[in-house]
Symmetry: C2
């Protein structure tokens, strides 16, 4: 691959570390996935990253830079990663400068939700869009805010915690300590718990029959499949999920006056029924002047969005 | 007053038009208040503004510019004001260029909530602050967002509708068409309606006795006075108002990562009990990394905040 330009994207997680060699269009040409050495401390994780980058480039391919998406609090200026969830005993580690020293190229570190937004901005559904709100639906509900084609970070890099916008201040307990956050309704685990409770009353549903009453088998993907196959119970779950997300987004749009929303992550695969539910509840609840401009888009970076988003950091001018 | 620099600030309202000559420190040295000709259409209102500015300057005082704060949708680039509430048959009027032609000076037009935020930025509680959220508590609950000492306007100039952040998506109907907006709980009229309902059960309270059961006498100011005098019912109303506002602000801070809040407008005079309630509920609900940085401040521009905020537009570099 001589002459071609590549970036390395690293999706650093508590379960796995994914490293990809990505071309200028966001296509992954080579990929490594390793079980994360997160339990073994920062030195082991840094070793794992270095070994992985050496392996994937074969120390021959010229790269334009390395991007790293990491969970938790990321110091963007000097590339520090502070106490990421599921990395015990981590503290504050200057990943950026350590990796830069090893490979003598530009290294960019971002929190994973912002990296997902930048991925869509550079390679995905946001390529032609000046301002958008990116929502990543997974175990957590993450957010990234793009204003004038730049990520908006706030005072301390913590902006865009869209999963912790409240829909009911007397509602469900969220594990952030607050009550009624949208994440406490549609985050994967909360969603599955809610579906389990509801399923006890709907043993007639296709979803219940599919899992034969074994709730440990329940996944968002199964709910989606049953909804698509016409199970009215599963469809009502998808509609309720989208409706609640639309309610939360109405508050966000009223604050930001940004009307394009890109949905990514697991549950975003719920498909058209989810999108139309988000759209209709958002339009119903948002202030009148914004209604005609609301656009809900599906993220384009699906598989390996983490690697692609991280590699996009190299092409992103902040 | 030769040699001194002044700006004219105009607070354009459906009830009154207030025009002030304001010095560089935000002090009003001369003021006119007229009943608004809003019912007579745009030409009459423009006449009223022109006459007022001629009168207040005596056509002798050199002014550095004119700032106009107007309700509703304001087009900031060319100074248009579009269908302000309580101005029947208005349409879209290019106030900025019309007034500029008359007085041959810089004219700046902003919506009133943003003008209030800019007023605090230039003359008030925000003079030393880089990022803050301004909340104006009145009939409506208005907001202005200052990022890096600039007003944040969003895609269409509509950002900062903080009164329409939801606290309960199954809660009270708001006159914006949505449900559970914070304005539907703490906007003056909603607040008074709620207090009336509660007072029926609290005929023993000092507040009930003060108005002798005549609910038409109820005002936020009376509630404040009774709370200060030790009426536990009125204190509970103030605490509940602050608590709910804190809940709404938790969502806003989680989105923006801006941790200084300035409260202005009528109810902000509720005093320390209000501020401590806002602060404690916001700190309880906002995400952990933001908690230690939360600061609730009282607006400094109280009387004639509208005139002062409008005049501040002249000194504000956007």
């Amino acid at each position: 691959m001589p002459g071609k330009k590549f970036a390395v994207g690293i999706d650093l997680g508590g379960t796995s570390v994914k490293i990809g060699l990505v071309d200028l269009n966001g296509k992954i040409v080579k990929k490594l996935v390793k079980k994360s050495d997160s339990a073994m401390g920062p030195a082991a994780v840094l070793r794992q990253i270095k070994d992985g980058v050496h392996e994937i480039t074969g120390d021959k391919i010229k790269i334009s830079g390395i991007g790293i998406g990491a969970p938790g609090t990321v110091g963007i200026i000097n590339g520090t990663v502070q106490d990421p969830p599921n990395f015990p005993g981590w503290g504050t580690v200057r990943i950026g400068s350590i990796i830069k020293k090893e490979f003598k190229c530009n290294v960019f570190v971002e929190n994973d939700a912002n990296a997902a937004a930048i991925g869509e901005l550079i390679y995905g559904a946001g390529r032609q869009i000046k301002n958008f709100i990116m929502i990543t639906l997974g175990t957590g509900v993450g957010g990234g805010i793009i204003i004038d084609r730049k990520i908006y970070r706030g005072e301390s890099g913590g902006a865009g915690e869209l999963g912790h916008v409240t829909i009911d201040t007397l509602g469900h307990q969220c594990n952030c300590g607050s009550i009624g956050c949208i994440e406490a309704y549609i985050g994967n685990n909360y969603l599955i718990e809610r579906v389990k409770r509801l399923l006890n009353e709907r043993t007639d549903s296709m979803l219940y029959k599919t899992i034969r009453g074994d709730f440990s088998l329940l996944t968002p993907k199964l709910i989606h499949t049953a909804a698509q196959a016409g199970d009215d119970f599963s469809q009502s779950v998808v509609i309720d999920t989208g409706t609640k997300l639309g309610y939360a987004l109405a508050s966000v749009v009223n604050v930001l006056d940004i009307t394009t929303i890109i949905l990514g992550g697991g549950i975003s695969g719920f498909g058209k029924l989810l999108y139309s539910s988000v759209e209709s509840s958002l339009i119903e609840r948002v202030m009148k002047p914004f209604r005609s401009r609301i656009k809900i888009k599906q993220a384009k970076l699906r598989n390996d969005a983490g690697i692609k988003g991280a590699s996009a950091l190299v092409h992103y001018k902040s």
